[in-house]
Symmetry: C2
Subunit: 378 residues, 2 copies
DNA sequence: CTACATTGTTAAACTGATTAAACAGTTAAC
DNA sequence: GTTAACTGTTTAATCAGTTTAACAATGTAG
């Protein structure tokens, strides 16, 4: 109810203006108008094709589905009729009958800007591309509290909206996920309940290890960590590796080196402020994602710390346009597009019964750019 | 084929690591397991409900659809059976029979990062929210060249995937749009062929007028324009108002004040470079969107121009986090969320036959922030 | 020359709903 | 006291496909 539209009021006046503009310099467009196009487009069904081709509807159906029991000549003849009539099978009827919808759903978390997010967007790109190639359509849903309360996520399957579901941006705090255990579903870029749910995620441990190795080799010993969502297993992976690698280097991690940045730009800035005030000797930040890293850098630069001369910053995700940032961000590259591709691929395999459990981890690597350097000497 | 997955290789080793992590600190989760959940979930149909309630399936159907011809007591009795059995009507069957799918498609342009775009994301948010409230699902499609060539956009209707379509980010160069003329479709934030297609867009003329008035009142007379997509009617609206308002103020616009920024950050930077070199006297830029404005500012700041002291910059869109930019960006606020809401709303009205033509324009306004100031005196 | 596969096609059942028309059972009108 | 109108429910057709089992026609083996 947030949006109150008063457009009717403006319509007439603006329309006059727009008409003018359109008339003055609109580009020529080819309208291939048909003679009787305002009539109902007269849907043709499999029966029409069968009649026209002089075969039964079963035969047409089998031609459509490339059934090998149909002979070459019959197939060719029917196919020709199909093409000439421009027949396109009704997907609803196909799905009802075959029990497969060829539709997948993507579930996004109830964040305000979930649709405009670089992280989700990149995964979605991969999902969308692969779904298209596999002949599947994509439904997008957002798991708002009310939505879950009403059981809409279960209806997705029960009412046969989709064959399977990909969940992005959820973690073990999202209990509704376990409702979906019995259906084809893949948790993307996380795990759940020690592997009860199928998943595909990036190798956060590998990335964290490389990031820490890099910072330690550059001589950093007081390394802060801006984390987020400790209820997320993959986020915990990073925290654990951070701790382990510090100890491995003979450094005892301090509680005061940790701050929650909520995965947001502003959160990253706030965390950077907190950490720099808590410990003046911190010379590097490991950040749970790029947005927090960028926020941290913004805070640092605005408050007289030079990046990377005074403080090095490492991110996670490798979202777009990072190379254009100033300084450009050293970060752990997550293969998000490939993650989307893999998740989609695996989900379809699960739906088709080709696999019965999915648990894939995709390799990650550190991308060195300008936001890291050798530790400052005081 | 860009993604080559080598995850199988990594799976075993990483899995070992992740299992360890999961076991060590996983959060307790409540698995409300049913006794016989591995069996096929045993779908119940309208027939089962009818039998159980001792009525015909027609009666159940009419209860489902709130048909007033069903008496109070019968309705109550059947509804109770429906609830107790947990019956959920099969949407495929409903759609096949009723000829409405209750699904809308959103078509995005074939840009690499269309799914991670702040502009599209905001509109999508509005569409998604309203579609949910109206009981409609959302399909997302990307109009890649191959997709259009194969006529998939027409299949969307012909094969009954959807009832209607919302097209985001297209303009008059995209000829395939005219294929959809005969179906319920709304062009979002643009016009096409002088109004042949239904549309809802923001009032770019109003926004441009306010931006130009602001710059002129601040004393700017040499105002450059970083535009994009001149084949887009709404983009032309801005160009026209820019020209008109300059003339109105007694200034003859120069060709050398115009540069195409391609709607991108990098394009904006390149355009700023071009314009500053072509005319040293330029003191302000009007930019076709925020991304280009941000790119322009980045270029200016990196090359010794102070913003806004030397050069003022105005954007268009008012995307998120602009207030956090440095300097924060003065821009024309487009009601993108509301635009999505309105487009969705109108599309459903069109599908239901409540309106037969849609041509709405939503008001815009200038948001003054730090990237504009009174003209520099030399 | 029957018996038996094999091959290609089809009739008919099925998917799970909606809806127009028919049909009883009441009530109101003339 | 019939006729007409109204209620509430059901019968049966329909939406547009898939799929199983049956069938005819042909080829092959015994």
């Amino acid at each position: 109810m947030a949006a109150k539209l008063k457009n009717e009021l403006h319509e007439s006046s603006n329309l006059a203006g727009s008409k003018l503009a359109g008339a003055s310099n609109s580009i020529q467009v080819n309208f291939n108008s048909l003679p009787a196009e305002e009539n109902p487009p007269e849907r043709i069904s499999i029966r029409d094709v069968a009649k026209q081709a002089g075969v039964s509807i079963a035969t047409v159906s089998m031609v459509l589905n490339q059934n090998p029991r149909i002979s070459r000549p019959t197939h060719a003849r029917v196919q020709r009729v199909i093409d000439s009539m421009g027949y396109r099978p009704n997907r609803l009827a196909q799905s009802l009958s075959s029990r497969y919808t060829q539709v997948l759903a993507v579930m996004l978390p109830p964040l305000r800007h979930a649709f405009a997010d670089a992280y989700f967007g990149e995964i979605l790109s991969g999902i969308s591309d692969r779904a298209g190639k596999l002949g599947h359509k994509l439904l997008i849903e957002q798991a708002k509290p009310q939505y879950i309360k009403e059981g809409k996520h279960i209806e997705l399957y029960e009412r046969r909206f989709v064959d399977g579901l990909l969940c992005l941006g959820f973690n073990e705090k999202h209990a509704f996920l376990s409702d979906l255990r019995q259906y084809p579903m893949i948790l993307v870029d996380n795990r759940f309940g020690d592997g009860v749910l199928d998943y595909v995620h990036c190798d956060y441990r590998m990335g964290a290890k490389q990031a820490m190795n890099c910072l330690l080799q550059l001589g950093h010993r007081n390394i802060g960590m801006i984390y987020a969502a400790p209820e997320s297993p993959t986020a915990r992976d990073v925290l654990e590796v951070y701790t382990t690698e510090l100890r491995h280097a003979g450094i005892e991690p301090k509680e005061s080196w940790l701050a929650d940045g909520c995965f947001t730009d502003e959160g990253g800035a706030a965390a950077a402020e907190l950490l720099t005030h808590r410990d003046k000797d911190i010379t590097a930040f490991l950040c749970g994602n790029d947005k927090m890293a960028l926020g941290a850098i913004r805070y640092l630069v605005e408050h007289g710390h030079k990046v990377p001369q005074d403080i090095s910053v490492v991110g996670f995700d490798d979202i777009q346009h990072l190379a254009y940032a100033n300084p450009s961000l050293t970060t752990v590259h997550l293969p998000l597009y490939e993650l989307g591709v893999a998740a989609c691929e695996r989900l379809v395999s699960r739906i088709r019964g080709k696999v019965d459990h999915v648990a894939d981890v995709l390799p990650t690597h550190l991308v060195l750019r300008e936001s890291t350097s050798i530790v400052r000497t005081r």
